[in-house]
Symmetry: C2
Subunit: 199 residues, 2 copies
Amino acid sequence: MYHSEKLRAVIKKLMLFPGVGEKTAMRFAMFLIQSPKSFVESLAKDIVEMKEKVKLCKECFFISENELCRFCSDEKRDRTKICVVESIEDVFTVERANVWDGLYHVLWGVISAREGLDISQLKIKELVTRVISKDIREVLIFTDTTVEGEATAMYIKKLLSNFDVKITRPAYGIPLGMEVEYIDPATLKRALSSREEVK
Amino acid sequence: MYHSEKLRAVIKKLMLFPGVGEKTAMRFAMFLIQSPKSFVESLAKDIVEMKEKVKLCKECFFISENELCRFCSDEKRDRTKICVVESIEDVFTVERANVWDGLYHVLWGVISAREGLDISQLKIKELVTRVISKDIREVLIFTDTTVEGEATAMYIKKLLSNFDVKITRPAYGIPLGMEVEYIDPATLKRALSSREEVK
């Protein structure tokens, strides 16, 4: 139905991208067909070169063009603290807040029965190895507050509970600037059950 | 902030894709970084080859690997009728209904003040040329029923009104299988003002 084997090949590959269905893949392909040849060629060159150059840091699995990423190779960082996140994007979010001076550990996903993600595909084993082999005092587990994120956090907590390391999670509660009217029941429940005395 | 010039280059290009913002571009780039090298290389090869092979039909601007697309080169099609659509995807939609035996004309967009699309970028001039130079009896204008789609239809209708060609639009009204409860006011208004006598 695509009237071109090459178009079909491109669409099939684009459909493997996260969140891309057939219609979006088709729209992307049409965009490429309409684009100047020079753009398509340089995009093709860029993705191959990116794939060659950008590796994962061998310590924390953040992206890096070197063996160690800029966090793991930064002497000013507190090397006794690791913030465990699901994805590269989460590292950017934490960095933007400019409040974490420790290292990171990117899991590259969460335990998910639905998506059939094998636990061995996540960088959990590597996290345990880091905790065992380095002088790590604190592991801050900062996964999403989804079912999968919580399950992953619990799994990691259990794995690390045998070691002499403090395991922390961020405080959960009402986000700043939020109007009471719009707070969802789950957040409200958590915020009230963890309420603090004003002194 | 991307920690890699190559990653930055890929993200900047992916952000030019329709509907792709920085977060989605980042997610796509992470997908590529995680994918096997062979996949990234064959994707790069495929998009370059598709760009080389897939052209636009010189008559109707549907996609084709040849000068004329499969519709324009199909002798069984009624060459006196042209269905004008906004995009390639729209041709697929009409074809799926298996009810149109004429040719097509793909505009590659609509007149849009918002997106600043120059009318000269659309294949409207080429449509007029087709109507003048070929024996065209009917032009079915099948643009979307959006403000832009309607404006484009009106513009084309005006341009073609000087020529001896029947200009049609599909009937608009209640879609089949629709429950009355869920019909939007605009469709309802149109359907009632165009109501037909039951004989």
